[in-house]
Amino acid sequence: MKSASPQHVFRALADPTRRAIFEELTRQGEQTVHALTSFAGVSQPAVSKHLTVLKKARLVRHRRAGRETHYRAQPEALAPMADWLRAYSTFWRERFDRLEALLDGMEP
């Protein structure tokens, strides 16, 4: 599965209600929209909207069963975060090379 960008993941989780929903799904496993609505304490349309944003960030998946839609968390969606480590490794290696060049060029 293709990962969403870190920015998408950050943005999706920037909202406290969405974050609470995502965390609830990671704790409880699969949940219906119904159950999530009573958990979140907001209207069902609001919950559905939040779930759509989470889905776009690939943080949750859904399946339909009868009249209910079930959602579950996608822990691997957090993987883009791990890319920060790789990105920063490259960043610092490159900056250290520049630091060396600077030092070589500086007066003693």
Partner: protein, 143 residues
């Protein structure tokens, strides 16, 4: 699966520079020099000093890193908070004089995620990280 809870990860870089400690320290703490190898900045080597590192803005990112000086031990140690994208991390440099130069050890720590960590462990760091995110919601403009 490991039961170890790992809540954050670091990037560690170590390099030997064939230059005296004094000179390396200057490169790390004089803003005109810092601008030449790291980024444009308004750094001052005072604990508690807030400053910004500025790089080229990109789509979805203003290029700004908000920092706060945490440790200044002249010639030996420099540390600052490094916050961007709601990711609150710490950069620490330690300088050790060696024969013929200076060993610079850099650790950029506090990354909340680890692809390999077990999920519970990852969630610990994740929640800590999310707590810090409340502050940047406005800036990011939640959808």
């Amino acid at each position: 699966m490991s039961s170890e809870i790992q809540s954050s990860r670091s990037v560690v870089m170590e390099k030997m520079f064939a230059h005296p400690q004094q000179k390396v320290w200057r490169a790390l703490t004089e803003k005109a020099l810092v601008a030449q190898w790291l980024m444009k900045n308004d750094f001052e080597p005072e604990v508690g000093r807030r400053f910004q590192l500025r790089s080229e803005p990109m789509p979805n990112w203003d290029g700004i890193i908000d920092c706060e000086v945490l440790v200044v031990e002249p010639l030996k140690e420099l540390s600052y908070r490094w916050s961007t994208f709601g990711l609150d991390t710490v950069v620490n440099f330690t300088l050790t004089p060696t024969e013929g130069g200076t060993l610079v050890h850099m650790e950029h720590s506090g990354f909340p995620m680890d692809r390999d960590a077990n999920y519970k462990g990852a969630m610990y760091g994740w929640q800590k990280f999310l707590g810090a995110m409340d502050k940047v919601v406005g800036e990011l403009g939640a959808e």
